[in-house]
């Protein structure tokens, strides 16, 4: 991959944050929030600020120029347990001037090619103070995504990896990756410095160990894990669900791990701390992924809908069965089943929506979270679930 990085160079325009003021933003510059002991923020799950999302969870985040009261609060930031890092669409930013992270030596601002299943997101790397509820992560790397329709400035090595991710297509103004591994090695992504309309791939001179960090893991307190709780959904609906994201595990009276929890150990050497899932005799790495908006699995016995043969559409309600277990085979495996129904259309909330993956891969998407309280222990944490990354849950309601 490093060789790949060294070779590709393309014309681009330098991202200019001050030119990105035209989009909707949820507030004007505001004073920094007063720190408090609050460690709970609201999750809204559904279709997002423009009604275009399905089974998508959002939270509200405030970013500030470090050590100042120049801030912006953004609602509908996609809460993603399957990635790492806070990234905001440039069109959603007001005039807030977050300082660039620059390459040591050249002094040029650094850009990152992030990859999601829906495509690439080319973004500048910046420093910010990040506030959620009463918690603060000071002076951490965040990214501002080039979400303009004209992507001609994006290096070809990035834009050739897929389509452009359009966060507005999933009802979001940006994304906050809160995976338990809490950071991603810089060499997993393609990094560049851009100047005078062209970008050059770089591997050296990145002044921070990680350009993608989970802000929760960098809070001053309540930073060893998080709890995601969403109400049950028993039918397709266009009514959003409201739940909570609580920071810390066993650090406050409101984030204690219950005795009846079912949990597994994730692999600390996996990029996103996956555990093992077995279905139809095939084992693979997987996780409880709030960023997948469906049940993603391979089951040859459940029919799929033409013409794409991608969406499961069983003639009657059916159950997909799987077993989750720790990556190292320790502990007690957990049986997890999903109700799958043939969809009759799109709704904001679709608890029984199944999509076919390739055999030997899959993810427990947001429908898994409905009716559960899910406990994620970060890497380095030690709790009753074991050594992080840990994935546990109770059926809450």
């Amino acid at each position: 991959m490093k060789k790949l990085l060294q070779l590709l160079m393309a014309l681009t325009t330098v991202l200019n944050l001050s030119s990105c003021n035209s989009g909707t933003s949820s507030s004007s510059p505001a004073p920094a929030p007063t720190p408090s002991v609050s460690n709970v923020t609201t999750i809204v799950a559904g279709s997002g600020y423009n009604g275009r999302g399905i089974n998508t969870p959002y939270i509200t985040v405030t970013v500030c120029v470090p050590n100042t009261t120049s801030c912006q609060t953004l609602d509908h930031i996609l809460m993603d347990t399957g990635s790492v890092g806070l990234k905001i669409d440039a069109s959603q930013m007001n005039s807030l001037d977050l300082p660039a992270i620059t390459q040591t030596g050249s002094g040029l601002p650094i850009s990152v090619c992030n990859l999601y299943g829906s495509g690439y997101a080319f973004a500048t790397a910046n420093y910010a103070d990040v506030y959620i509820a009463g918690e603060k992560a000071g002076n951490i790397p965040v990214q501002i995504i080039n979400d303009s329709a004209d992507q001609s400035g994006v290096p070809a090595s990035c834009s050739s990896e897929g389509q452009q991710v359009v966060f507005s297509d999933v009802g979001a103004r940006g994304i906050i990756g809160i995976n338990p591994i809490i950071n991603v090695a810089n060499n997993l992504n393609f990094n560049y410095v851009c100047s005078n309309g062209s970008c050059i791939p770089i591997t050296e001179g990145i002044p921070v160990p990680y350009l993608n960090v989970n802000p929760v893991g960098y809070f001053a307190s309540d930073n060893n894990g998080q709890i995601i709780s969403l109400p049950a959904a028993t039918a397709n609906s266009n009514t959003n669900l409201t739940g909570t994201l609580t920071f810390g595990l066993n650090t406050e009276s409101n984030n204690l791990i219950p005795g009846n929890i079912s949990s597994v150990l994730g692999d600390p050497n996996n990029f996103i701390g996956k555990f093992t899932v077995t279905t139809e005799g095939v084992a693979y790495d997987s996780m409880f992924d709030s960023g997948t908006n469906h049940w993603l699995f391979y089951d040859a016995t459940i029919p799929t809908c033409p013409p794409d043969n991608l969406v499961y559409c069983p003639p009657t309600a059916t159950q997909w069965q799987s077993v989750a277990s720790s990556y190292d085979g320790s502990g007690t495996p957990i049986a997890i089943s999903a109700g799958i129904l043939s969809p009759t259309g799109y709704s904001s909330i679709m608890p029984f929506w199944g999509i076919q993956s390739s055999q030997g891969s899959g993810l427990y998407g947001l429908p898994f979270y409905y009716g559960k309280t899910v406990y994620l222990g970060f890497i380095g944490s030690q709790t009753s679930m074991g050594a992080g990354p840990t994935w546990g849950f109770t059926n809450s309601n």
């Binding site: 990859l115 829906s118 050739s160 990896e161 994304i175 996996n270 990029f271 997948t292 043969n309 891969s361």
Partner: protein
Amino acid sequence: MKQVLLILMVAFAPLSAYATLGESTPSIESDNKALASSISTVTTKMISQEVDTGKNKSLKYQVSIIKATGNITIKEYVSDGKVFAVSWAGMRNPDLKQLFGKYFPEFKTTKTAGLGLRNTQVSAKNLMVNIYGVTGDFHGVAYIPSLLPAGLNPQDLLK
């Protein structure tokens, strides 16, 4: 449907590129040169797969497996001398401009709908694509419906 898999090792040689969707197999050679600078040397196995459809028709196509830079495993499916499908799994996606060739513009401009952050789905007349993945683990399948060998279920490409 009874399936008989015949695996024959036809070639085992260092090769440093992809073939391109819809192109003839010699496109592998030109692609070699185009991508030699950006793709490290890989090993290709040519596999001949014969499927008994149960109707006295056997289906033959070749599958090349390429181990590319970035822990990406690419499979190329060839029938009648043309690449009718590609699939991959790896830490990132491969260079899809190279892999999709003349179909890349259609891929880029055909918008997906509804499947959210993790999926790219293209369902066009000339091109079917499904990509999904999370950090460090991406999967994709693409095929040209008109070049699909008769009797081959596209679902088999997911295995």
